[in-house]
């Protein structure tokens, strides 16, 4: 065991937690120490035991990398690509009513929700709004950045609290350049989002409020993956582009039919089958859109590393061909 003074000098390392109470022998200066202090070290080797000990951050990252990937878009990527992205992703909380983007403002981060929901609202004059998109664990917030537009066309508001992995805009654009499977997944998702907006446009014009509300609640139910969630009348009115009283009437009608229970913004789905029957056709249409394969899916296997290639160039496994 090192001396107490050395232990104190290494306090920045949180050595007690590094190795279950065991303090490791480390150099006290030089590049190793500078790398430690700048958070660029994952593991420390202990000559006494011949073992590598992970630092807390690395241990957390490795344990989360081994667990199920909550975001479907990230989960669809080849593992190699996902691990590359993971290095640039940071975990953040999505707080109810938190605004991620305002219309016309630069997109500084993209968000891959693990759970919770983010609503994309068109903001019209006189502060009137209409929801034109909804993103949960199946997608990414900030898709327009993937299409080369750095300003957000919509207001993105957290509508159901949760967590997400986010990535800075610069890192995201770099990742997009080198990762074909990510581009493919985002093209597919952008298509689904565009189609969703088209469907909402027609739905808003032709369908009754009660059917639209049922549709919206089903989509919230799918995304949140829980029977009970929080949606106030006010927020629903903003999403559907109608007055609060319209939401109150429609929610009361659904409640009378014992499809939902609604109290102070807490919605519980009582009869999902019945709610589907009450919803307009748009729910099924939008749901199917998310699974539409694109023609470019044929290009994806070319990105998969060729493990059998002998003495392959390091570029063969990960980077795109020029």
């Amino acid at each position: 065991m090192p001396s107490k003074s050395l232990e104190r000098n290494l306090s920045f390392l949180e050595t007690g937690r590094v190795a279950n109470g065991r303090v490791l022998r480390l150099v006290r200066s030089g590049p190793e120490r500078r790398a430690l202090e700048s958070g660029q070290v994952d593991a420390v080797l202990d000559a006494a035991t011949g073992t590598a000990f992970l630092l807390p951050g690395a241990r957390r990252a490795l344990s989360s990398a081994g667990s199920r990937i909550a975001n479907s878009l990230l989960a669809a990527l080849p593992r190699e690509d996902y691990l590359h992205l993971l290095a640039e992703l940071e975990a953040v909380a999505l707080t109810f009513r938190g605004v991620l983007y305002e219309p016309g403002e630069p997109i500084r981060h993209v968000y891959f929700p693990n759970d919770g929901q983010v609503s994309q609202l068109m903001v019209m004059a006189a502060r009137k709004t209409l929801e034109v998109g909804l993103t949960g664990h199946e997608g990414m917030v900030g898709v327009s950045l993937a299409q080369g537009v750095e300003l957000s066309p919509v207001r993105a508001v957290v509508q159901e609290s949760g967590s997400a992995l986010r990535m800075g805009a610069v890192s995201f654009l770099e990742a997009l350049e080198r990762c074909l499977p990510l581009r493919y997944e985002l093209s597919r998702y952008a298509y689904a989002q565009l189609s969703q907006a088209r469907q909402i446009a027609a739905c808003t014009r032709f369908h009754h409020v009660e059917a639209r509300l049922a549709c919206r609640l089903l989509r919230a139910h799918d995304s949140v993956r829980a029977d009970e969630f929080h949606l106030t009348h006010e927020f629903l009115a903003e999403m559907l582009g109608i007055r609060r009283v319209g939401i109150t009437n429609a929610a009361s009608a659904l409640q009378r039919r014992k499809l939902i229970s609604y109290s102070r913004g807490n919605i519980r789905i009582l009869d999902r089958k019945g709610l589907r029957a009450a919803a307009c056709e748009c729910y099924e249409v939008v749901r199917k859109l998310a699974r539409v394969p694109l023609l470019m899916s044929n290009a994806v296997p070319a990105q998969t590393p060729d493990q059998s290639a002998p003495a392959a160039s390091i570029t063969a496994g990960v980077l795109l061909p020029a």
Partner: protein, 106 residues
């Protein structure tokens, strides 16, 4: 790359033996290790197309190998040849520093 299975060697170009020979010590797919690999890949692709040899060693699988090579923390990059031998510690995000250490004009 599949670092967990075993240490792997990667060569590029026919004249690999006359190129830069490096060893990168990483801790599985921990964040800084992934960054170091990605940063080194970019440098190799851009500056070392004429030939390089890179061995990636996962210290979680081969700690004794790393200790025998004098590695204390990961990620660490060791340039074996051409001399002088150089070691760089960290995720290799300081590109100019890495290029200088590898003897490549920034």
């Amino acid at each position: 790359m599949h670092l967990k299975k075993k240490a792997k060697s990667r060569r590029s170009g026919a004249a690999a033996t006359t190129g830069v020979v490096m060893r990168l010590y990483v801790a599985g797919s921990a964040p800084n290790s992934i960054k170091a690999i990605a940063n080194l890949e970019a440098i190799c692709q851009q500056h070392l197309q004429d030939g390089f040899e890179l061995e990636v060693i996962d210290v979680l699988e081969f700690p004794l190998r790393a200790l025998a090579d004098g590695v204390v923390v990961t990620p660490s990059l060791a340039k074996i040849s051409p001399s002088p031998a150089v070691r760089i510690v960290g995720n290799l995000s300081d590109r100019s520093n890495v290029l200088r250490a590898l003897g490549i004009g920034a």
